[in-house]
Amino acid sequence: MATRLLVRRIWAVSVKDSRRLPAAAASLSSSSSSRSSSLSTSVHTRSFLSPSRSLLLSSHRCISFNVQDNDDFTERVINSDLPVLVDFHAQWCGPCKILGPRLEKAVAKQKGRVAMAKVDIDDHTDLAIEYGVSAVPTVIAMRGGDIIDKFVGIKDEDQLDSFVNKLIGQ
């Protein structure tokens, strides 16, 4: 358990780094996709961590996802075992472009205890209308198919952290 926590902590740090440095993110993803080559070229600490990191990476990919359609929403949001943040956003919305990455970061910090679903309101208008979205970005926190919390507009990183913490009951 202690090692798992340690790995998670290191993972959180490396995610932070990769967000800041696109080049680092690229090398990270390439190291996970072609592990054999990365093993030989990576520095010692990295090769030591890479198997578990790639495992977490794949689970991270599931944790933040774009909703495909209503059925997908039902399956991965309403029926989700994890609490889910639903980010209703639009291509034409400037603030959404700022909030989206911040939200992903806040979710990543929770190390798999919360998922994030992204809904483009122009592609999935019915969903947005059904969930009462009037302006974007609108973020809805759901647990067991119920709406627990909601906010509209931009929030800073600390506010997002506390919003997410509240959802997972911390």
Partner: protein, 598 residues
């Protein structure tokens, strides 16, 4: 008190008409629980009923008095079924129990899915549907954008929001900023020589704004409880439409009443290469690349506005004109706006029509060869352009919505729908508003007004009609042209030249003096009816901020402003609009109209 009797007679006629034209009529008050109970009864029976809320309409108490006169019943609800007076809540429920109600409703009684179906989610359709829903009606709106031949498509809101007023004015603003940048140096602003425009940035910004408006409309429909379908609607029966989604899924819906608000789409030329290689205004606002050297075909306001702002972005623009500029507008003003465009760097090819468009090279933009023929001689000319924009008029979208199945008369010559002064077609339960109307203004605010008032007449017992007279409007050419009322031509035709006094003046906006541009280009003109106290019947303004200037004078004309009242108004100095308070030179005098000093 004779006037009251007169009013009562009118009210009685309105009430009778309302009773006669609806299967079930409930005179009600919005807060009355018994009225609610009766409405619920009819809802259970699945019978559409029309309620007139006497506490929400003007003169509601007079209506109640007349009802007392007609039925001996003063209280509400006051229910009529099939033109027969039934009574209040208890009597109606009793009638239901003993079968009298069913008997009155008749075997053929029809229950519709909706009180109102609006076909077309543009300015008019949305306004009408929201108003009807706010009056408690069950309303559906269907909107569907058929993509252009080049595949351009857009969201909810109709022409104005997506491919008209909104993107047009934002791009006009883009062009005006270019002029402002040039002027700025004269006012002492210093910045590096190179000033470039990025089409992609402008296009994305404009499209993003439109995206937010589309969403706003969708939310407004939800909030007002209007059912919205992104489907193509066509009549299959007089009270039934087929709605087809993008994926081809079909559904059928019925309604007691319909409003047609399908709008218009750009007309093509019907010459080789037009749909394959040319764009229209429907494509221009979503074009992913800068159009480059552009030929605009047509002299409609769409043509002049698009040509104007493209030139303002610094593009090489040519406009090909078959005959006159801005048909239907005051020709003196139209030509002045056109002359200014020439000084602005736009080339005009007059009295030519294109006969063939060929692609020399594909690309973004590519290269096109245009062959055109003189309208007067056999002369043929050729030209090479990156983009050809067709703006030769618009066609009403009335051809493929099954109007024949509903029996609605459409003018076969232009596809327009004639309506009476209450926007009613030849089929009593089908109405039409907006650009598809014959002989009416094609303007968003007119459609909105008509739609809203129509809903109030249909569902709230209102009698107010849309006033299509003295509608102010503005053409956003590089030098903007605002007008209200009659053109000089139309005024002469209606009143005779001898009965008109036309005052006019050139003026030079103060902000143009330091850059020293467009001197003696801006022009103001008012047409007054000498037979009617020199009442202003035509207002024309060519200059900056024409929309802002014209709007207020539109109000004045609605109030019946006369020349004397304009003269006694104090101007605001220094502005452009103040010119209208000091107009002295009449056109017939031939006096000097050049402006000098304060």
């Amino acid at each position: 008190m004779p006037p009251v009797e007169n009013d009562n007679a009118q009210i009685k006629a309105r009430l009778q008409e309302f009773i006669d034209s609806n299967l079930v009529v409930i005179f009600s008050k919005s807060y009355c629980p018994y009225c609610k109970k009766v409405k619920e009864l009819f809802k259970e029976l699945n019978v559409a009923c029309e309620a007139m809320e006497l506490d929400l309409i003007e003169n509601g108490s007079s209506y109640q008095d007349v009802l007392m006169e007609m039925t001996g019943q003063k209280t509400v609800p006051n229910v009529f079924v099939n033109k027969t007076h039934v009574g209040g809540c208890d009597k109606t429920i009793q009638a239901h129990k003993d079968g009298y109600l069913q008997q009155l409703l008749g075997a053929e009684s029809t229950a519709y899915d909706y009180d109102l179906i609006v076909i077309g989610g543009g300015s008019g359709g949305l306004a009408c549907s929201k108003e009807a829903a706010a009056l408690g009606k069950k309303v559906m709106v269907l909107d569907y954008v058929v993509p252009t031949p080049l595949g351009t498509s857009w969201g909810l809101g109709g022409t104005c929001v997506n491919v008209g007023c909104i993107p047009k004015k934002l791009m006009h603003q883009t062009a005006m900023l270019h002029t402002a940048l040039e002027d700025a140096r004269k006012f002492g602003w210093e910045f590096s020589e190179a000033v470039n425009h990025n089409w992609e940035t402008m296009k994305s910004a404009v499209n993003n704004y439109i995206g937010s408006l589309n969403w706003g409309y969708r939310v407004a429909l939800r909030d007002k409880n209007v059912t919205y379908m992104n489907s193509y609607a066509e009549f299959v029966e007089p009270h039934k439409i087929k709605a087809t989604t993008k994926r081809g899924k079909e559904m059928f819906h019925t309604a007691a009443k319909f409003v047609l608000a399908t709008g218009e789409r750009p007309r093509y030329l019907g010459i080789p290469g037009d749909k394959e290689y040319c764009i229209t205004s429907d494509d221009l606002f979503y074009l992913s690349y800068c159009p480059g050297k552009t030929l605009v075909i047509g002299a409609s306001y769409v043509a002049l506005e698009c040509g104007g702002f493209l030139a303002g972005l610094g593009l090489d623009v040519t406009i090909m004109v078959r005959s006159i500029l801005l048909r239907g507008f005051d020709q003196d003003m139209a030509n002045r706006a056109g002359d200014h465009m020439e000084t602005y760097g736009i080339k005009f090819i007059r009295k030519f029509v294109p006969i063939k468009i060929e692609q020399l090279e594909a690309g973004t933009p590519g290269r096109l060869k245009v062959t055109a023929k003189s309208t007067e001689t056999d002369e043929i000319i050729e030209g090479e352009y990156n983009t050809v924009l067709i703006a030769v008029g618009r066609d009403a979208c009335t051809g493929n919505i099954g109007l024949d199945k509903a029996g609605v008369f459409v003018n076969p010559k232009n596809g327009k729908i004639p309506v009476n002064d209450e926007e009613q077609t030849n089929i009593p339960h089908i109405y039409a508003i907006g650009d598809i109307l014959e002989g009416k203004w094609e303007l968003t605010p007119v459609a909105i007004q008509a739609g809203r008032l129509l809903a109030r007449r249909l569902f709230a017992g209102s009698s107010e009609k849309c006033d299509y007279v003295n509608v102010p409007t503005t053409v956003f050419t590089p030098l903007e042209y605002g007008s209200c009322g009659l053109s000089e031509e139309k005024a002469i035709e209606l009143y005779g030249e001898e009965n008109l006094e036309i005052f006019h003046s050139l003026f030079w906006p103060l902000e143009y003096t330091i850059p020293n541009r467009d001197n003696n280009r801006c022009y103001a003109k008012i047409i007054c009816n000498k037979l009617d106290n020199e009442r202003v019947i035509g207002f024309h303004y060519l200059g900056p901020n024409a929309g802002e200037v014209t709007q207020g004078f539109g109000v004045a004309m609605k109030c019946g402003a006369t020349k004397q009242q304009l003269d006694s108004t104090i101007g605001i100095h220094p502005t452009c609009a103040e010119i209208f308070t000091t107009m002295e030179v009449t056109k017939r005098s031939g006096g000097d109209i050049k402006q000098t000093g304060c």
